[in-house]
C-alpha cells in the first residue's frame, strides 16, 4: 500500500508540474516577458502580447483548473484512493 501511495503522489506531482509550466508560460511568459515581440502579431484586432496579458491568460487559468480536477479524478480512481460516494 505504501508503494501505491508513493506512486500516486508522484503521478499527482507530474500533472501539477506540467500544468504549472503552462500557467507560467501563458502569464509570465506570453503576458510579461515576451509581450513586446508578441505585440508585433495581430490577433482578432488585439496585439497578441496585450491580449495574452489582459484576457488570454485568464481563460487558460480557468481551463487549467478544470483539466487538473478532471485528470486527478481519473488518477484517484486508478490508484484506488478516490473518495467513496456517499
Amino acid at each position: 500500500m505504501e508503494n501505491n501511495n508513493d506512486d500516486y503522489w508522484r503521478a499527482n506531482l507530474r500533472v501539477a508540474a506540467i500544468l504549472l509550466i503552462i500557467w507560467f508560460t501563458v502569464s509570465f511568459g506570453f503576458g510579461i516577458l515576451l509581450v513586446e515581440p508578441l505585440n508585433k502579431i495581430s490577433f482578432f484586432g488585439f496585439k497578441l502580447g496585450f491580449w495574452w496579458a489582459q484576457q488570454g491568460a485568464i481563460f487558460v487559468f480557468v481551463i487549467l483548473i478544470f483539466v487538473y480536477a478532471g485528470i486527478m479524478k481519473r488518477i484517484d480512481k486508478k490508484f484506488g484512493v478516490d473518495e467513496e460516494e456517499d
Binding site: 510579461i32 496585450f50 478544470f66
Partner: protein
Amino acid sequence: MDVLTLTYLFVGGSFALYIGIAVWSRASSTEEFYIAGGHVHPIANGMATAADWMSAASFISMAGIIAFMGYDGTVYLMGWTGGYVLLALLLAPYLRKFGEFTVPDFIGSRYYSNTARVVAVISLILISFTYVAGQMRGVGIVFSNFLDVPIDVGVVIGMAVVFMYAVLGGMKGITYTQVAQYCVMIFAYLVPAIFISMLITGIPIPQLGLGAEVADGSGLTVLDKLDSTLVELGFGPYTDGNKATIDVFAITLALMIGTAGLPHVIVRFFTVPKVSDARKSAGYALLFIAVLYTTAPAVGAFARLNFIDTVQGSQYSTVDSWFKNWERVGLIGWLDKNNDGVIQYAPGAAFEGAPRYGSEIGASGERAILNTPTANDNEVYVDRDIMVLANPEIAGLPDWVIALVAAGGLAAALSTAAGLLLVISTSISHDLLKKTMAKGLSDRQELRYARISAAVAIAIAGYLGINPPGFVTQVVAFAFGLAAASLFPAILMGIFYKGMNKEGAITGMVVGLVFTFAYIFYFKFIAPADNNAEHWWFGISPEGIGALGALFNFTVAFVVSRFGKPVPGEVQKMVDNIRIPRAANPRSAPDTS
C-alpha cells in the same frame, strides 16, 4: 421614478434579500459557524468564493485603474486570477483533506507548535483588518455618492447588515448570502458593460468588443484608436506599459501567491464535502471571477475612449452633464489654466495634490480650485473610481442601470467584508481561545465566543471605515505582500516537504513577515520621497515586494530546518494522510457530525 428612488429600491431590496437568507440559514454549531457544516455544493461555493474574493476594489476601482494604466493594469488582471491555479493545484485539496476549521489550525498542527499557530493568527489578523477597513470605506463611498447619505451613516448601515448575517449565520449565513451577492454584483457589472460595448462597437460581448472596430466609420479598432488618440495628446500608447518588466513580474507574482495565501479565500474550500469538490470548486470560483475580470479591461478601454471624446476640447459651458455631476461630488476637477473656457486634457497632474475646492464659481461656471497649478497643459483632475461609477451616465444609460451599479458595488464590498470578519473571529475563538488559551471550551461556549469576536471585529472595522487612518488606501500592498511572504510558503512547504520542521517554518514566516512589512513601511511612511525605482531593491516596488519576501521565507526555512530537530513520526503520517483523498477523513466519518 427618479434615480434616487430607484437606487433606494434596488439597494433596499438587495439588503432585505441578504437578511432574509441570514435568518433562514442560522448557524447552530461551531461546525456550521466555521465551515457551513462542510455541505456546500462546489458550484455554490464557487459563487460564494467569487463574491468573497471580488471586493469594492475589483468592482469599483479596477476598470478605472486599467483605463488609466493601460497595459500596466495587467498586474491586477493576472495577479488577482492566477493565484487560483496555485490554490487549486497546490493548496485547496490538501487543506480540505486536513479537515479542520482554520488556516492557523493547519499551520499549528503541521508544525506541532502553538508558536507557529500564534504567528499565523497574527499575520491573519494583520492581513484581514487592513483589507476590511477598505471595504467599509467602500460601502460608505457608495452610500454617499448614490444615496445622498453621509459616509459615516453609510458605514454604520453596512455594519448593521453584515452584523445581521455574519454574527447570526456564521459561515453558513455568509455562504448563501454571498451566492446572492455574486448574482447581484455580476449582473450590475455586465449590464452597463454590454450597453457600452454595443454603443462603441456594435458588438454586445465586451470581451470581443475590445478587439473590434469602433463604429464611427474610421475603420480603426478600439485599441488602435485609443493608442493613437493618447499619443496625439502626448500620453504613451495604451497597449504599452510604463513599469519596468521586473516590477510587472514581481507585482503579478506577489498578487498571485498573496491571493493563494489569503485566509478568507482558503477557508472557503473547507466548506465543500470532498477533496475532489475542492478542486472543482476552485475552477468554478475562477470561472465566476473571470466573467468580471475579462470584462474589466474592456470597460476600462471603452471608458477611457468615451472620457476623452466627451472631455477633450469641449467648451465647459456645454460639456455633458455627468462631468458637472461628478465635479459637484468632488471626483472631477477642472482648472482653466489658459482661461479659454475649453477643457484641455493632457498628461501629468493638473495641479499639486488632491483637489481643494473654493466656494466661488470660476469664469465658465466651474468650481474654483485652490491648489497650485502645475506647469503642464493638463486642466483635468479625475478620480479613477468614477470610471465604473459614472460609466452608465457617460454612456447615457437609463436610470435603473445607475441604481443597479450602486447595489452591485455594495454587494461587492459587503460580501468581502463579511468573509474577512469571519476569519478574524474564528481565528480568535478557535485558535487563540479554544486551542491555545482556554482549552476546555465546550462547543456551545466556543460558538458564543465566535459570535462575540465577530461582533467586536465588525465594530473595529466600522471604526476604521469611519476614521480611516490616512494610510488605508496606500497599504493594500500590505495585505497581499504579507499573505505572500508569510502564510503561503508555510502552507506549501507543510504539504510538499515532509522534512520541514517547526524551527524552519516559524523562522521563515517571521523573516518573510518582518522583511515585507519593513520594506513597505519604509517606502510608504519613513521615506516616501525615495519610493522610486532608483532606491528599490532590484527595481521592485513595495507592491511587488511580497514576491521577494516569499523567496526569503523559503530560503531561510530550508537553511534553518537543517539545524532543527526532525519532524515527529505522527506529523509525517498526517502529511501522508492529507496527500491521499481517501481514508481516515475525520469529517466524512458518520460518528463525528
